[in-house]
């Protein structure tokens, strides 16, 4: 594509100039390169998606072997980044709002969605602002966000407010113990250099029991929790019923 075409076709970039668009395009390519900067997310994505899709299908009685099984569901992806979860959800038929507090992620995600032929409403906003504006969803995806916020209870309360009654929140995060410190910070950030140093603050990691407690105090009803375990031999992530020692994921309902 020529630069002129970028300027014409990039949605929502308004007055952004061609050089900016080129930069966004490079960033989109980076977000979506499975061997690039976000390799750990790409690696984990099939496992996260397996959990998310099965929970949604079970909760809303959808059949994953059909086309667009999530049609009619309104879904919010908090901390959408480049759209690694928003796009699959849109492809499965959900009406997706992708929210990210980092303004520069939004045009990047928009550009990639357009390349993929998907319609996704990406917004530079926060869960709290959306809740305040009265937005409501059937599903809220809250993946690897809660360990980065300053007030988890206030944040989870906003997530509660964003759900319609009967709505489902999927929330994943990192456990707090010596193993998660070794794996997530020493391993992923310092040894493997999968993530920029300083990505995580181990003090903010939350144990599954603490998370269940916070979710309940936010008014939601936790119904399931599973571990996500990385196998360094096969280089694959899988869902575990027992091992929640590092990465784990939960499902909660607004009754």
């Amino acid at each position: 594509m020529s630069d002129a075409m970028h300027a014409n076709t990039a949605p929502g970039t308004g007055t952004v100039d061609a050089a900016e668009v080129a930069k966004f395009e490079a960033m989109a390519a980076e977000w979506w390169d499975p061997n690039g900067k976000f390799k750990p997310l790409h690696n984990m994505n099939p496992c996260r998606l397996d959990y998310i899709t099965r929970q949604i299908a079970a909760e809303f009685g959808r059949d994953l072997t059909t086309q667009q099984p999530f049609a009619g569901l309104r879904l919010l992806d908090i901390g959408c980044g480049g759209g690694l979860l928003s796009e699959p959800m849109a492809r499965l038929g959900a009406t997706v709002v992708g929210a990210d507090a980092a303004p520069r992620n939004i045009p990047v995600a928009k550009l990639h969605a357009e390349q993929s032929g998907l319609t996704i409403d990406y917004r530079n906003t926060t869960a709290e602002a959306l809740a305040e504006a009265g937005e409501r969803f059937d599903v809220v995806l809250n993946m690897e966000v809660v360990e980065h916020v300053s007030d988890p209870l206030a944040y989870l309360t906003a997530c509660h407010d964003l759900l319609k009654p009967g709505g489902l929140m999927i929330c994943s995060t990192l456990n707090r113990n010596p193993k998660s410190f070794a794996m997530a910070i020493v391993g992923a950030e310092y040894v493997m250099r999968w993530l920029p140093k300083g990505t995580h603050d181990w003090q903010k990691f939350i144990t599954p029991d603490e998370l269940y407690d916070l979710i309940r105090r936010a008014g939601l009803d936790p119904v399931d929790r599973k571990g996500m375990v990385f196998n360094p031999i096969t280089w694959r992530w899988s869902i575990s019923d027992r091992d929640l020692s590092v990465n784990y994921v939960t499902a909660s309902l607004r009754r």
């Binding site: 499975p34 061997n35 790409h42 994505n45 099939p46 796009e87 699959p88 993929s116």
Partner: protein, 409 residues
């Protein structure tokens, strides 16, 4: 004309249709581009070309609904007898016999003629929603973009999709246009393939003689009095034999075959296949995957390539369908990487099993040779036991694609 499908498959032989059926039955739309002209309605006559289907291949055919249309035409392989052959003297007494009663899976494999299998695939494709078969169409160009992949046909049609699969054989144009290089070499051997009629019934027995010049396999065909012959000779000898008239050909075969099935006569066309290896340096490229001989041309005789190709089909269909159900882009690097990891070691080990592994392990150990046959049913292509050996040595556990266990996706 423009057309859109989730998956574009180039090659309408056997792997292409099998993959198309597996994907379409799971809800994806598929276009199959076949260079051959539209198949004639009249069924082809008997030409002796047949496949020895391994049990896993049968299960895949069951899972995609093709088995029931060929079931009446298969010959189960109930017994395998092996022997050391001596040129000019025919086989030595059979020294080891495997009987299907000894394994719980039933027959060790099934012989099935090409004409029946291909016809069944065609019929199934026509009866399946979501498959478009474009016959007599040649691909001129292919292009990968951020959004997908498109191919331009010589007829002027353009097709776009999210994944392009090359099931177009060892000279794969899909691989070449994707910039995937190949390596390969010949073995100085040629397989002579034909069918014979024999006086006495074969009773479902496959025979294999190990001759110094290469193995001779006699594979039972339906009816009891026909067998498929796969006979390996050095190139020079094979060329000489192929040049003989039918009577001369039969005279050359008789002493090798022996007299245990009574009088012999030729009953099929005579084919020759030079034995060679052709391996793609990688099985995937951006939005492109290679299946079957396009990825690994091993041993073009008696359908061992088909058994291997169907394993590719099972693995690729599974990763693509799983990705679709997760909402992932089916042509993205994640599912394709998974396919390559799953298949490449197996296929490469098998391909090299013809060569390097033959040098590592002694070729004279009869137990090894038998284990090889048990594993794959028949013929001399797949060193099953040694393969398991290597896989274990490499710390890999064989994870069979779902379709190859007979389950639907």
């Amino acid at each position: 004309m423009e057309m859109q499908a989730d998956v574009l498959i180039v090659g309408g032989g056997l792997n292409g249709p099998a993959l198309a059926l597996a994907l379409a039955q799971a809800g994806l739309s598929v276009a199959v581009i076949d260079a051959r002209p539209a198949p004639q309605r009249a069924e082809a006559g008997f030409d002796g070309r047949a496949y020895a289907l391994a049990i896993a291949s049968k299960r895949l055919l069951q899972a995609i609904g093709v088995w029931r249309s060929v079931e009446a035409q298969v010959q189960p392989i109930l017994r395998i007898k092996t022997s050391d052959g001596r040129p000019g003297q025919g086989p030595a007494p059979f020294f080891l016999t495997f009987d299907a009663d000894e394994i719980e899976e039933g027959p060790m494999g099934y012989m099935l003629e090409d004409r029946f299998l291909y016809a069944a695939f065609l019929q199934a494709m026509r009866a399946t929603d979501g498959i478009t078969l474009l016959s007599g169409e040649k691909v001129e160009a292919q292009e990968v973009t951020a959004a997908g992949v498109s191919v331009r046909l010589a007829s002027g049609k353009t097709l776009t999709g999210r994944l392009l699969v090359g099931c177009d054989g060892r000279g794969s144009g899909v691989a070449e246009r994707a910039g995937i290089r190949r390596l390969g070499w010949g073995y100085g051997q040629t397989a002579l393939v034909t069918a014979v009629h024999h006086e006495k019934p074969h009773e479902g027995t496959a025979y294999q003689y190990f001759m110094p010049s290469g193995p001779l396999a006699i594979l039972p065909l339906p009816g009891g009095h026909h067998s498929s012959i796969v006979w390996s000779e050095t190139e020079a000898v094979a060329t000489e034999i192929q040049a003989l008239d039918d009577a001369g050909y039969l005279e050359a075969l008789k002493p090798r075959f022996g007299g245990f099935l009574g009088d012999l006569s030729l009953a099929g066309e005579r084919f020759t296949y030079p034995l060679s290896l052709s391996l793609a340096e990688r099985f995937v490229e951006e939005r492109v995957a290679l299946v079957g001989d396009a990825a690994h041309g091993v041993h073009p005789i008696a359908g061992q390539g088909l058994n291997l190709g169907l394993r590719d089909v099972g693995a690729l269909a599974e990763v693509v369908v799983n990705a679709a159900r997760r909402g992932e882009d089916i042509g993205s690097a994640v599912p394709l990487g998974e396919y390559q990891r799953w298949r490449r070691f197996d296929a490469t080990a098998l391909a090299l099993g013809m060569d390097a592994v033959n040098r590592i392990f002694s070729n004279d150990n009869p137990v090894m040779r038998l284990g090889r046959d048990l594993g794959m049913g028949v013929v001399n292509a797949l060193p099953g036991l040694r393969r398991r050996f290597i896989r274990q040595a490499a710390g890999l556990e064989g994870e069979l694609p779902r379709l190859l266990t007979g389950r639907k996706l």
